[in-house]
Structures are given as C-alpha cells and as structure tokens.
C-alpha cells in the first residue's frame, strides 16, 4: 500500500486547479484498488464499477477538502467506503439486493466438461467467500475488507471509517468471527 507520494500531492494540486488530465492520472493510478474495494463492499461487479466511479467523482468535487494530512489513498478510500455503504443502503431500500454470488462467473460455463473440477471447486469457494463477505453487516464488512483484503493497518481503517481504534478492533474481530461461521465448510483444509 503506497503512502501519499509527492506525485500524488502534485496531481491533487493540479486537479484542484482544474487540470482534469491530472485528475485522470489519479483515477488511473487508484482505479484498481478503489474498484476492488468497492467490489468487496457492494458485492457485484457492475455496481462496484458504478460506485467506484462515484467515489472518484466525489473525490474530484471534494479535492479542496483534502489537505494532505492523511494519505491520499486513505482519503480516497474513505470516500469509496461511504459511497459503497450508502449505495448498499439505497439498494436494500429498493429491494433489489443482489448477492455477490449472483454475479455470473467471469467465463460462461458453456463446456463444463472442459473445466477441471478443481477449478470449479476453486470458483465455488471464491464465490462463497465473496458472498459471505457481502452478507456481513456493513460496519464489519468495511473493517474486514479494509484489513484483510486491502491490507490497511488498524489506524488507517480508523481514519478511513472515522471511528476509534478500539471500534476498529472490535468490528474487525466480530466480522471475522461471523465469516468463520459462514465459511465453516472451507476451514477444514489447510489455508
């Protein structure tokens, strides 16, 4: 996980001055990370792309509020997390809740015979993990995703989510406990 590089700051400064090309560079630099974060928070690819884009747009609009006290990606993550969570709430309100597991596999299983069984199992496992994450209560989900997927430190998570360190510890732990329950079938094998 990179810190706020001088380059980031320069791009931020230029973006703030209206240099959209500079902002586009920032987008390209962080798009994969923000997208993956959104994917694990909202649970499906299409919405993840949408949410991640929203996050960048919000970042652009809010650039003036970024003072460089925190790392740029921390700041960006906090926007993305907020976007993802509010998106989920709105989606739940619309009763169109879609679980991650409903995302079609990357490749259509047109010829199941040609796909090694091991690969099928691996996919099922991945989908089960993603679905379990998607089902977590949002506070837990954010903590788990930020720590175990995005690799943030506790302190960074506290900053991103805007809660105290102790809360992060508690949410992370409880999230993992919930996942442990959900993923029992997969815990027998060696990690």
């Amino acid at each position: 996980m990179p810190g706020t590089s001088v380059e980031d700051l320069e791009l931020v400064t230029r973006s703030r001055a209206g240099d959209v090309a500079a902002f586009t560079l920032l987008v390209r630099r962080y798009e994969d990370r923000v997208y993956n974060l959104a994917l694990r928070l909202v649970g499906n690819r299409e919405d993840a792309a949408d949410v991640a884009q929203e996050a960048f747009l919000a970042a652009y609009e809010g650039l003036e509020r970024f003072r460089g006290e925190s790392a740029f990606y921390t700041w960006l993550y906090s926007i993305a997390v907020n976007k993802a969570l509010s998106f989920r709430r709105a989606r739940d309100a619309r009763k169109e809740f879609v679980l991650a597991s409903e995302d079609p596999p990357l490749e259509a299983a047109g010829n199941p015979g040609e796909i090694p069984e091991a690969e099928i199992l691996a996919r099922e496992k991945s989908e089960a993990i993603a679905a379990a994450i998607a089902k977590l209560p949002e506070e837990f989900r954010a903590a788990v995703v930020l720590k175990d997927i995005e690799g943030l430190e506790y302190e960074e998570i506290a900053e991103v989510v805007g809660v105290a360190l102790g809360t992060v510890k508690s949410r992370l732990h409880r999230g993992r406990l919930a996942l442990r329950e959900a993923l029992k079938p997969y815990l027998g094998a060696a990690p």
Partner: protein, 500 residues
C-alpha cells in the same frame, strides 16, 4: 487466561497487535487449550481465505467513464452571471437501470409564484412530444405561465436528426483533424476563422435556429433575456443555413445562450454546497451543485419501479436551497407520471388528499399546492397503493444537490440525448458546440463515446445564464481526455479482467 478473554484477543493476536505480555498469555493459553487453539486456527484460516480472494481490476473503460461523468459535473457547476428572480426547475428522469420498462417515475417541479411571470425558459415550453423511444422516460414538463405566448419549437425530431446527420458528415473531417492534432481547442479564439463560423452555422442549422435578427437585437440586452424559443416559425434547417448571415450574426445568435464572459468577468466556480445552501436560504443567488444522475432516485423524486414503490422523497421546504426558496414563495408541485399509473390514478390520489389538480394529462399533473414534502409523499403513496404497489419507503436527509437549481435564479437541468426534442437541450448543445467550434452532432457523438454510466446517452447540464469558465474547462476536458486518451486507455491495462 480464560477462554473467553483469549477468544476476544485472537484477531489482534493474529495481526500481531498485542503487547508482548498479552501475546505471550494468549500463546500459552492456546498451547494448552484445544478449543481455543482450534478456534484460533479457524480464525486464521478464515483470514487467509478472505485475503486470498483474487483481486479484480477496474474495467478497461473505467477512467473514461469517470471522465464522461466528470464532464457533466463540470457543466453542472456553471454559475449564473446575473441574479434572477424566478426559479424553474425541471427534472427529467431517464433510464434507471433495468427498471425502466415498467417504471413509473414521479417527479415534480415547481414554479415560484413570486411575481407574475415566469421566465419563458423555452426548455419548459416544449410542445414537442418526446420521441417514441423515450417512452421509458418520464418527462417533467410544464409551460410557465408567462410563457403561454412563447412558441414552442416545432422542429420535429426527424428534421433535427436529418440536419444533425448532415452536420455530422460535414463535420467529420474537422473533428478528425483536431484529433490528429491531439490538442484541444482550449479557448474560444476570436480570430479563428470561417471554418468555425461554418461550424456554428451548421450547429445552428441543425438546431433550427434563425439568426436573421441576431445582429441588431441580440447584442446587449438579449444576453439577459431568457432563451425564448428561437423562432416563431422555424425555417427548415437547410433554408436557415443558406439564409444565414456570416459568422458574426451566428455568433450573436449564440450569445443568447453563450454570454461572452471574459476571463475577468467570468464567474467564480461554484461555491461549496453548504455555503451555497446557506446563501440560498438567505435569498441570495446561488447554485446548488447538482449531481442529478447520482441522486435522482432518492432525492426529490418518487419512483415506482416494477412493483415496488421505491420512495417518495420530495424536497422538503427548508431541506434544500431551491426548494426552500420556492416553497417560501409558494410554488406548485408537479407530478409527471406514466404507466402503469394513469392520469386517473393521479386525480384520485389528489382528490383523496384534497388537492386541486390544476392540470392533468396522461403524462403530467400540476397541483395547486405549495411544494410540500408531506403532500407529495401522501399523493405518491396513495398512488402507489392504488396500484397495489408495496409500501413507500422514505429516505430523509438533506438535499445534497438534487436537480440543477439556482435559488433566486434560473436554472434548468435537463438530460440531453441525440434525439431530444427539448428546446433547452438544443440550446445547450448549440452553446456547447459553439464554444467548442464544432457541431452539435459531433459533440454529442463524442459525449456518447465516453458515456458508459447508466445515463450514457445523455449528459446533464444546468443551464444558467452563463457558463463561460466551466465551459472552458469542458473544452479542455473533452479534448485533453476524450480525444487523446481513449486509444491508450485500454491498452495500458493488460492485467485487468473484463468485468462481465
């Protein structure tokens, strides 16, 4: 150490976040306690499973999507030059994901009654029915009171399409050369020549503008005059083109829509939202930044999608800048509806709440009530129930910029698609195209290329009296990003798996 205490500490233990003494205590406990050891191992494997999930990269066109949406935002931030008295806000709701076909959107807008006349912003005057392809959209439209005499554009969609096609062909070369040049038309350059004049003529022609009177009438005052319908009897595009005075007249015609803000007088960028809202509440002129596309489905609107009444979230008095000002002035609320809710349903719902329907048609209803959250919510809820639609869910919260609106000013937010008959859209497109020195069709086609979002065929724009500074940004944006980056955009992302 007790088991319970141990289990609580396990995450921190695994993450190496415990003090040495605590870690040692946990360590020795799990060495002795089978249950806790198993627990710890399972937790560790759980973390490993989660951490081991494949990372997925953003879709290849991700940055372009951001770019396209950012363009709209930039447009939305344009700030008006002169204070206006009236507020007219119209919202159009376009495609909402997959719910469109069977969706009913209930939008509303309002007109201040302060003063007698409503500026005849012609986007509101349209008598043109949306094309058949727009059947999945709900269009919130209304004629302003003072606009009764203002002729609506009679330019048909077909005519426009034909003209745009012509313009597109004519313009292709010019656009291509810009692309090859790889640089933007950064600023409007007065000395830029006949070529640009031609482009403007084409844009004007494609929009059915008549610029005959432009030289004399439009120069000064017209700038402050609302963009009334361009001509009582629009001449066929071809005739307009051949009839048109040279570039200067065309420019002047555009001045009605493109006030020539010099850098010195160009408006400052839009203020922060909070500040804006405060200003608006104080009755000052202000623009509410309007991420309409982002928020339309839960702010200031009601949506019935499929069989679910999603919500009815009218903008409450005091909740947002424009609604505040408007409600205070006493406005009118309008619902625009379509299948499966009919005009009869609306009438019944309104009657049930003792509300007078001022105007009612199959597609819209105007209520003679001040904009009021409860009223609108009640009506829309009744509507939903009348259709056997499940309960409404209200989402409270501040209006964080719904619709493009200027408190104490004039703004229109509209979606623009290639086939949009709305006058305001065409004005806007003409203005933008003129700024870019290109044609509407070429611009729209460029816009379309990047529009991957739910609203891809449209771009949204506020139409304040002036938008010079932001439009310059737009120019930079389009040409710096859209035209020079797409080629490399996908190529630099080899590792990204396609998102579906």
């Amino acid at each position: 150490m007790e088991c319970q205490k141990c289990k609580v500490l396990l995450s921190e233990y695994l993450d190496g976040r415990l003090e040495d003494s605590e870690a040692a205590a946990v360590s020795s406990h799990i060495a002795e306690c089978l249950e806790c050891r198993t627990f710890a191992e399972e937790l560790e494997r759980t973390v490993a499973l989660v951490s081991g999930l494949d990372r997925e990269g953003a879709p290849a066109d991700f940055a372009q999507g951001v770019a396209a949406r950012l363009e709209r935002r930039i447009l939305l931030e344009a700030e008006p030059k002169a204070p206006r008295r009236k507020v007219i806000t119209t919202w159009r709701f376009a495609t909402i994901g997959g719910a469109v076909a069977a969706s009913v959107l209930v939008g509303f807008y309002f007109i201040t009654s302060q003063g007698n006349k409503v500026r005849p912003l012609s986007v509101l005057n349209t008598a043109v029915t949306p094309p058949a392809t727009a059947g999945n959209e709900i269009v919130v439209q209304e004629k302003g009171e003072g606009a009764a005499g203002a002729p609506a554009s009679k330019v048909t969609a077909a005519k426009e399409a034909a003209a745009e096609k012509k313009a597109e062909i004519a313009d292709r070369d010019a656009l291509e050369s810009r692309r090859l040049a790889g640089r933007g038309v950064a600023e409007a350059q007065p000395r830029e020549t006949a070529a640009r004049g031609d482009k403007r003529e084409e844009a004007a022609a494609s929009l059915g503008y008549v610029a005959k009177d432009a030289k004399t009438a439009q120069a000064g005052a017209a700038r402050q005059v609302p963009a009334a319908a361009p001509a009582a009897e629009p001449t066929p595009p071809n005739a307009v083109a051949s009839d048109m005075a040279p570039a200067q007249a065309t420019d002047a015609a555009y001045d009605r829509y493109v006030p020539a803000a010099s850098p010195a007088t160009a408006p400052a960028l839009a203020r922060p939202r909070e500040e804006t809202e405060l200003a608006a509440r104080a009755g000052e002129e202000a623009i509410v930044k309007a991420p309409l596309v982002e928020t339309y489905y839960y702010e200031g609107s009601a949506i019935i999608a499929g069989d679910t009444f999603v919500n009815a979230i009218p903008v409450a008095a005091g909740a947002g800048a424009f609604s505040y000002g408007d409600a205070k002035a006493g406005g009118r609320a309008q619902l625009a509806v379509s299948k499966p809710v009919t005009a009869d349903d609306v009438q019944a719902a309104a009657t049930a709440h003792g509300i007078t329907v001022v105007k009612l048609s199959e597609s819209e209803a105007v209520f003679d009530v001040a904009l009021d959250k409860d009223v609108l919510a009640a009506v829309t809820t009744t509507l939903g129930k009348s259709k056997g639609i499940s309960a409404a869910k209200e989402v409270a919260g501040p209006v964080s910029g719904s619709g493009g609106a200027v408190a104490g000013g004039t703004a229109v937010t509209t979606h623009m698609g290639l086939d949009e008959p709305q006058e305001g859209s065409r004005q806007y497109k003409a203005r933008t195209a003129a700024t870019l020195g290109t044609t509407v069709s070429a611009l729209a086609s460029e816009m379309k290329k990047g529009g991957k979002d739910q609203d891809g065929e449209f771009f949204t724009a506020a139409i304040p009296a002036t938008a010079g500074a932001k439009e310059r940004q737009l120019v930079r944006f389009i040409f710096l990003n859209r035209l020079t980056q797409p080629a490399s955009a996908g190529a630099t992302k080899p590792a990204t798996p396609p998102a579906k």
